[in-house]
């Protein structure tokens, strides 16, 4: 009965252990960033940022193989693509001079198209599906350290600025009148969101990462009374979804990204039917 437990510790399954650990270690980031993205209603912005990451991945692989820029890893490219996209959309939405949803759509598609063009011109085999749908075989201990670093980068400022984040997220105008630097907080949130996206890229893939950011938070939003409790619950849920989905994927021999997202989506829909909140 516990064969699967022993199986988990087989040496050749180190990637699965990395993935499981990453699922647990990324809970703080996902709880905080997911809740912020959901309550501030910037999930489509996060989606654009995720898809633009592929542009960066394509550029990085192209530069690595054609120009021999070895240091330019796909992860570095993804960070650049996701950051630039998030900040472009964020700054445009702050100035309110263009239609925000249009800009999001443009950045979303442009990032993806650029990535595909670069990949087409990159010689040799490229596992582009892995970037789109996740490939936990690519995980290593580096990702785990990066996850811990991102946890710190999210939790430390949260500890200091929670009240300001709460005020800004609830009513940005009012918070600004009280002297809170709403724009700075917003841009910091966008940057951390972009980093979170890249962190999850190898686990669930660019296309599904937006689900992993929003679904735990949205599910916990049905039950939470405070912003902090929504963050805590969504962190726990994200770990449960990641671990559950990964085990499901390994033992049922299905791809990991879709398994995680389907699990999270089903729980979200169930929670919606039993939700406590009145929403008229």
């Amino acid at each position: 009965m516990f064969e699967w437990w022993h199986e988990l510790w087989m040496p050749e399954l180190s990637f699965l252990r990395y993935a499981l650990l990453l699922g647990i270690l990324s809970a703080p980031v996902l709880g905080v960033i997911g809740t912020t993205v959901v309550t501030r209603r910037i999930s489509s912005l996060a989606g654009a940022s995720a898809h633009a990451a592929l542009g960066g991945v394509g550029l990085a692989l192209y530069l690595q193989r054609v120009w021999m820029w070895r240091f330019f890893s796909p992860e570095l490219g993804a960070v650049l693509g996701a950051l630039i996209a998030a900040l472009v959309v964020g700054i445009v939405s702050l100035s309110a001079s263009e239609r925000e949803d249009t800009v999001i759509g443009v950045v979303w598609a442009l990032g993806m198209a650029l990535g595909l063009l670069f990949l087409d011109r990159t010689p040799g085999y490229v596992d582009w599906q892995g970037y789109l749908f996740g490939n936990i075989l690519l995980l290593s201990s580096t990702e785990l350290y990066l996850t811990l670093a991102l946890d710190a980068a999210v939790l430390l400022p949260l500890g200091l600025f929670y009240n300001r984040l709460l005020a800004v997220s609830f009513d940005a105008t009012f918070a600004q009148l009280r002297g809170v630097r709403a724009t700075a907080i917003y841009l910091a949130v966008l940057a951390l969101t972009a980093l979170t996206i890249v962190l999850l890229m190898n686990v669930v893939g660019i296309i599904l990462v937006i689900a992993m950011i929003t679904l735990p938070a949205a599910t916990s939003g049905f039950f939470a009374r405070h912003l902090w409790s929504m963050m805590a619950l969504s962190g726990i849920l994200s770990a449960v979804f990641m671990v559950g989905g990964l085990l499901l994927s390994y033992f049922c021999r299905v791809p990991s990204g879709p398994a995680i997202v389907v699990l999270a989506g089903v729980v979200y829909l169930l929670a919606m039917t039993v939700r406590r909140k009145r929403r008229s």
Binding site: T39, R41, L160, F161, N163, R164, L166, A167, S169, F170, D171, T173, F174, A175, Q176, L177, R178, G179, V180, G221, A224, R225, H226, L227, S229, M230, K277, R278, R279
Partner: protein, 253 residues
């Protein structure tokens, strides 16, 4: 003593060549309570944003407590319309009011004095027993009152209320007027309203906004009953033609 609000020769337009507000001269003295009225699109919200430094005038100067709006606004308690806020945000009434204690220079965490001030503000508007209730579970009128409490928690010298009676049921309205009259004894209160009946309630001045801004003493403007307001507008045409274009249109709204 410097006037609380001072706009000198202010023009503002969102698009070049098209002024939303034109040649605005307005002063409001300390302790003066006023009501800002005018038709939709007449520039009421724009005037508020200029006052609070959220928009910069195309021409002219805006001063709050003799300071630039960005500094003066920390002494203002602002209450927006509740329906502009997220209905499902996870926050309790008490937490909403606490955000009124926020300040650019204050420490990052709320202290005991802040909690006490927030509770006092909730008590003042008669919502203390609902402090731990979620904001999203409250009725429209209750939410509006929580936002007034938040503005009071700022311990403001000027209270700026945007359409406070727009979504309050008639029963609660009476209590609300009583609350306002109480507050007027302590601070300057400016109210933006579509409700011309509101104008009659013990305000010192009526500020009509329709591209231009004209301030009247309420004594010249008041009427005994709400339906008499209409006739007053007609009579106002006779003695002050400029007012017609401002206040006369407000009755259609």
């Amino acid at each position: 003593m410097a006037p609380i609000i001072e706009l000198k020769n202010v023009d503002f337009g969102y698009v070049p060549g098209e002024l939303t507000l034109e040649q605005v001269d307005l002063t409001v003295a300390s302790g003066e309570s006023g009501c800002i009225v005018g038709p939709n699109g007449g520039g009421k919200s724009t005037l508020l944003k200029l006052l609070l430094g959220m928009l910069q005038p195309t021409r002219g100067t805006v001063r709050l407590f003799g300071l630039p709006p960005e500094e003066g606004r920390l002494r203002v308690g602002y209450m927006p319309q509740y329906h502009l806020l997220d209905r499902v945000f996870p926050i309790t009434a008490f937490e909403v009011v606490l955000t009124g204690r926020m300040n650019s220079w204050r420490p990052l965490w709320y202290g005991r004095a802040d909690r006490r001030a927030a509770m006092r503000a909730l008590e003042e508007i008669g919502m203390a027993q609902l402090a731990e209730r979620e904001f999203s579970e409250l009725s429209g009128g209750q939410r509006q009152r929580v936002l007034i409490a938040r503005a009071l928690a700022c311990e403001p010298e000027l209270l700026l209320l945007d359409e406070p009676t727009a979504n309050i049921d008639p029963g609660a309205e009476e209590r609300f007027y009583a609350l306002l009259e109480n507050l007027r004894r302590r601070m300057t209160v400016l109210t933006v309203s579509h409700d011309l009946g509101f104008v009659n309630r013990e305000v010192d001045s009526v500020i009509c906004v329709n591209r231009r801004v004209v301030k009247h003493r309420a004594a010249d403007f008041s009427a005994e009953a709400a339906d008499a307001v209409y006739h007053h507008h007609v009579s106002l045409i006779q003695h002050d033609h400029s007012c017609f274009c401002h206040c006369g249109e407000a009755k259609h709204v």
